[in-house]
């Protein structure tokens, strides 16, 4: 579909449900507007650290072009190989393990073009790495699940990719000591590209100038007092994380933002039916969940946490504590008074 066609489509339909790559089925299994045709890089100047592309462009396509110039999207977009699109990544507000060092998708979107509930084109933000003019409409779309409009074009900030990577995996005695080790590292001044905890394993990725990696890995192990396993060619390790290859196919997959101090109570509640992978120093749990999502909803509510279902059967994808309140209502009234895009 062209932009014009999307405008017409919105004007003539009472409900508009968008699908990008379809990699997050809970968010897009019922869709009447496919975005894959709205695809392609529009502008990319490596020396500016920015690019602009149509929203239906696959992230993998972008990643490849960036890699040819030694650059990358540091927030490590999930479902890359599965076919996630730029628009879907922003709408779902998803970042991967690599968000540890420089921030998530919200920290890298610079500009947006979208079509609101009336079919009007709106632009916000600026195509340069720094801009403070006007309201931050690009950020508002992050995690909004397309409820403010159909995202058609996005500008991102990119960074030079590290010249080399290495991964250090630490096997701890218990999940508890793994979390303690994570906390110790998170408060340290080591520059870590990823800091995940998976069961009783701590997974650390570093990147940079190749001949400094060896000493840096040694220093890390000295600091935590555990000898770990070092992998130099670590692509596979992080692909497994990024693509959620560790999640069993029939389980639900839920994103739960939290802080490290809340992990023990969450773990106690989900013990029987859940398995978690914590990324970014315990700021986010990816939960593999085999019980009903209604039950998870209650658990999260009790813990005053919120969750977003990416895979799984649920009438409501936002679980637990609801966010946004009256401000959300007012923003929705601005861009979609009739609630055509209402996803939940």
């Amino acid at each position: 579909m062209t932009i014009l066609e999307i405008q017409d489509f919105i004007k003539s339909n009472a409900s508009v449900k968008v699908r990008g790559g379809g990699t997050k089925p809970a968010l897009s299994s019922v869709a009447n507007l496919e975005m894959h045709e709205l695809s392609g890089m529009l502008e990319y100047d490596p020396s500016e650290y920015t690019f602009t592309a149509l929203a239906g462009t696959r992230v993998s396509e972008i990643a490849q072009i960036l890699a040819e110039h030694g650059q990358h999207l540091p927030f490590d977009p999930p479902f890359l190989m599965a076919g996630a699109t730029l628009g879907g990544t922003v709408a779902a507000g998803l970042s991967g393990s690599g968000r540890q060092r420089f921030g998530g998708v919200r920290d890298f979107v610079l500009a947006v073009q979208f079509i609101d509930g009336l079919g009007g084109i709106v632009r916000g933000g600026g195509k340069v790495v720094k801009n403070a003019a006007g309201f931050d409409l690009p950020k508002m779309h992050c995690g909004a699940l397309g409820t403010f409009g159909v995202i058609t074009e996005l500008t991102f900030k990119v960074f030079p990719a590290p010249k080399a990577w290495a991964t250090l995996q630490l096997e701890c005695d218990t999940p508890k000591t793994a979390l303690e080790t994570m906390q110790k590292l998170a408060g340290s001044s080591f520059d870590l590209e990823c800091l995940d905890v998976f069961g009783s394993r701590v997974m650390i990725r570093i990147g940079g100038v190749i001949n400094a990696l060896e000493t840096r890995l040694e220093n890390l192990q000295k600091f935590v007092g555990i000898e770990g396993q070092v992998t130099r060619d670590d692509t596979e390790i992080w692909r497994e994380a990024r693509e959620f290859l560790w999640v069993v196919p029939n389980a639900a997959l839920v994103k739960i933002p939290l802080t490290a101090s809340k992990i023990p109570t969450l773990e106690a509640k989900i013990l029987e039916h859940g398995r978690t992978r914590y990324i970014s120093s315990g700021n986010l749990a990816w939960l593999e969940w085999t019980d009903s999502l209604e039950n998870l909803d209650l658990i999260l509510l009790e813990l005053q946490l919120s969750g977003l279902v990416l895979r799984g059967n649920t009438p409501r994808v936002l679980l637990g504590k609801q966010v946004g309140g009256v401000l959300l209502e007012r923003v929705l009234n601005t861009f979609d008074l009739e609630r055509k895009f209402n996803a939940t």
């Binding site: 919200r106 403070a132 933002p257």
Partner: protein
């Protein structure tokens, strides 16, 4: 609007006599912010001391339909905290408590009147700091930083204020209080704390801000390079960028700015330089050592006629002292000056500087340039003598031309100082009328009476935006009607 006397009575009921200031001498101190060419006298300046008092004040303003302006330290350079004539200024400096500082989770929860530097100072004993570092950090407040999404010299790598605000408690213009975000770096649902940051006080008042703290870098390595031309310094920036290094800061100063900084703080800068470039790497010891070798190679190959490497923390701070004092230092060269703030794509820096030089020649006004070269954020300082008739207008005109140039080159009219009053007329060169209309609709949906900081951000000549383009669902259902 209600009779002023009634409003004042209500305000005094909440704050007492002393904290509702109405005397001419008291109001005069709040007539402008750091952009002194605009002045307006408020009906009253109030000094709440608690969150509850702020809420009460806003409710009173709402009840009486009185516009209000939140104010931190008034260091805005775009007229953002300029009072609305006969409105209320809510000075937030007394809400200056750090409510929580959690070294384990690395977050601080602060009241809006806490100064930027106070956060880093409080975090320092734990080896942590608050990253955004506006040059005004000793006095500007977190509330002001939030309103303007303020930046600083070290924002290339770790971002501006919005990248460090995790959560907010906000007071909407009708007195509603709600929390946005939280203390996690991640969230689900629309990123409304991201939307609030940078809204220039038009969406209400930030009552409480949850900030992310970072562990202090193990090491800084700072280099100062002197060039015979601005272009050469600009090209050096391009070489650093294409080398794949990611410095924490890259700053350029031109000859006039160097002279001024030298006269003011004696940083020991090479005085005959046409341009100085400061590049700083920060991070893990070993990584920085290796990267610095590469940086040094790039800088030495860039045509610098003098390269100085800071050998101690003292030398590093001396290098920065000159840069950080540049604005006020330039102020000594001239009775008056305007600090501009535009952004160009980094690759167009050289072109932009040449064009600014030409425009400055045509206008017959001196322009000093200080800028965050890493993000293409220019700060031309336009010098003029306000006592000369027409000089201010000439300077404003030149400033406008420079902003037009920035947008023409693909950039922005502001990188960090905000639109405020000063740049509102320039918004249409950056945004189409439908984009502006969408933003205006958003503003009106959040603040239908336009009580919170009116007169800012939007061009004044704009026809009033339509509040609603389609009937409200309740209207369609016949529950409400439009008169």
């Amino acid at each position: 609007m209600t009779e002023p006397a009634t409003i004042l009575t209500d305000l005094r009921r909440v704050l007492g006599e002393a904290r509702v200031m109405v005397k001419a001498a008291q109001l005069a101190a709040y007539e402008s912010d750091a952009l002194t060419s605009f002045k307006a006298r408020a009906l009253a300046v109030v000094m709440p001391e608690t969150e509850l008092e702020v809420i009460e004040v806003v409710k009173i303003c709402h009840k009486h339909r009185v516009p209000f302006v939140a104010r931190g330290s008034g260091t805005s350079l775009s007229g953002g905290s300029l009072p609305v004539a006969d409105g209320v200024v809510i000075a937030l400096n007394k809400l200056n408590k750090i409510l929580k500082l959690d070294p384990l989770e690395r977050v601080a929860v602060v009241q809006p009147g806490v100064t930027n530097l106070a956060v880093s100072t409080a975090a320092a004993p734990f080896g942590l700091y608050y990253a955004p570092d506006p040059s005004s950090q000793q006095i500007c407040t977190i509330g002001g930083n939030v309103a303007f999404n303020s930046g600083g010299a070290h924002c290339l790598k770790y971002g501006m204020t919005s990248n460090h605000v995790l959560g907010l408690k906000v007071l909407l213009p009708d007195g509603e209080v709600l929390t946005l975000g939280g203390s996690s770096l991640e969230s689900v649902g629309a990123d409304l704390h991201g939307l609030f940051v940078g809204s220039e006080g038009l969406f209400g008042i930030a009552l409480e801000v949850t900030l992310r703290l970072l562990p202090k870098p193990q090491r800084y390595r700072t280099v100062l390079a002197a060039y015979h031309s601005l272009e050469a310094a600009g090209e050096a920036v391009a070489s650093v960028v294409s080398s794949g290094l990611l410095p924490g800061a890259m700053e350029i100063m031109d000859a006039l700015a160097i002279q001024a900084a030298e006269a003011a703080v004696h940083a020991g800068y090479p005085k005959d330089a046409a341009a100085l470039l400061i590049v700083e790497l920060e991070g893990e010891d070993r990584a920085i050592e290796a990267e610095f070798l590469e940086l040094e190679r790039v800088i030495r190959a860039s045509g610098a006629y003098e390269v100085r490497i800071a050998q101690s923390e003292l030398e590093r701070l001396t290098i920065w002292k000159g840069r950080k004092s540049a604005f006020s230092a330039v102020g000594r060269l001239s009775p008056d000056y305007i600090v501009q703030d535009g952004v160009v794509p980094r690759g167009k820096l050289g072109l932009a500087l040449k064009e600014i030089e030409r425009l400055s020649g045509v206008a017959g006004l001196r322009v000093a340039n200080v800028f965050h070269a890493g993000d293409g954020n220019l700060h031309p300082l336009i010098l003029f003598d306000g006592r000369e008739p027409g000089a201010l207008e000439k300077a404003e005109h030149l400033a406008g031309e420079i902003l037009g140039l920035c947008v023409k080159l693909g950039g922005s009219i502001t990188g960090e100082h905000g639109v405020g009053v000063e740049k509102r007329e320039h918004m249409p060169i950056m945004f189409s009328s439908s984009d502006l209309d969408a933003m205006k609709r958003l503003r009106l949906s959040i603040d239908p009476l336009e009580l919170s900081n009116p007169g800012k951000m939007f061009p004044s000549g704009e026809a009033p935006a339509l509040v609603s383009h389609a009937p409200h669902p309740l209207e369609r259902a016949g529950v409400i009607t439009r008169e």
